[in-house]
Subunit: 249 residues, 2 copies
Amino acid sequence: MIYYETFTEVVIFTVKKNKIMLNSYSSADKVLLAVDCIIFGFDKEGLKILLIKRDFEPEKGKWSLIGGFLKKDEKLDSAAIRILDRYTGIHDIYMEQLHAYSDIDRDPVERTISVAYFALINIENHNAELIQNYEAQWFSVANAPKLIFDHNSMLRHAIRRLRYRTSTKPVGFELLPEKFTMRQLLELYEAILSKELDKRNFISKINSLDILIKLDEKDMMSSRKGSYLYAFDKEKYDAKLLNDFVLNL
Amino acid sequence: MIYYETFTEVVIFTVKKNKIMLNSYSSADKVLLAVDCIIFGFDKEGLKILLIKRDFEPEKGKWSLIGGFLKKDEKLDSAAIRILDRYTGIHDIYMEQLHAYSDIDRDPVERTISVAYFALINIENHNAELIQNYEAQWFSVANAPKLIFDHNSMLRHAIRRLRYRTSTKPVGFELLPEKFTMRQLLELYEAILSKELDKRNFISKINSLDILIKLDEKDMMSSRKGSYLYAFDKEKYDAKLLNDFVLNL
DNA sequence: TATATCAATGTAGTTTTTACACTTAATAAA
DNA sequence: TTTATTAAGTGTAAAAACTACATTGATATA
């Protein structure tokens, strides 16, 4: 076993059959790596996030993002998927890495770096199981409670990213049921961007993307006349992505 | 010392004076956390990145981003600043966290998660010391060499982010000397976006931002007529940032 | 059958973006 | 000193995108 100080780091290596084998980066510190998920949902009341009540000290009883630790042989994306599944039973949804948070004392228990992910799920599809099986609860994004550690900061970043994503990806469709009305879509975008949008302009911009299928079916819940249901055309969207997607609302 | 399995994680805690003190998250794995820097520069030849030749196995002799390991009591931003300073002697420059890379075998020596940062520096200001004191070397972004590990992928992401940043921040000014001509600025943006821009439209868009100071001085190097030098007005820019910056080129 | 409610739809005015070419200033060469 | 050369500097018209805005249509309920 030989120590060798390079310009970069001290490394430990052995020589086997004339081949140098590095065994570790000896001088480097190892740290805990957490993954926290900002899970957005949408229903008729607006844009929501899913939180859990922390059940141990410190900060017991406070609201928290859903999180967990990265395992040794797991990549971050997989950890985020695993953690979300464990708390919600949900998988196969849109997730995106947000940012790594590393303030020294962000977690008072132990030095922990956290990589935040945000996810988009559709509440109606999952709500029943979620509330029954897990201690998670939906909160309106607009008046989210005080969260532990730096989770409020993560949430703010996630909202900013989500707003930006609306112009880049058809994120809206991730948050809605498979069939939805134009009004629902409009209200979703209004909730995300937290501004009012002109209905006619919105519809023509959405239509100009050419990624919606107008169904023959109507939703008769919302009005006497009934409003047509739409579905998202994944194929057209995938084709479109190649030439970049831009949507200015 | 008591073990307690919560819904989230196994934790270890002690009870002191009726207060529960958590000591660690026992079940979680610790990992090495690296920071890699994509350092962009610009000169008359175009957009460049700074690379170093790795001087130990594996991948000895291959080109690599500048990187290092996070220390125990250091946050990621600080590590990025430290590492950049160590390799280039440069500090006080624009840096931004890019993404965390965590493929299991991305570093064959040992499991390492890397958080990539990108930085913008102005070559002319720093080149001499940089080349003399360190083994770093500038490469044209357009034909960068094959890099170790997943560094090419980091570079691709960084370029994408840099392109987006042009519409959000006046990144250009970070890459130019204090005084610069409109032509230099134009060529920089052309290099970043890798597309041709119309000179007159570019100038009027830049001017409409109202963050440039036209100096009385001319650069006589580039032409017989000479071209006016400009400087970046940080104060106006800072004021402007409050109402969001948008620049569509 | 009258009324109330929300869905659906098009256009004109304004702003923004694009495409495009000639004149000017300074210097070097004749 | 005249002429030639080179890149700098400048404006406008056409096209495209965006905004603001109001009436009619379908149906359930009174």
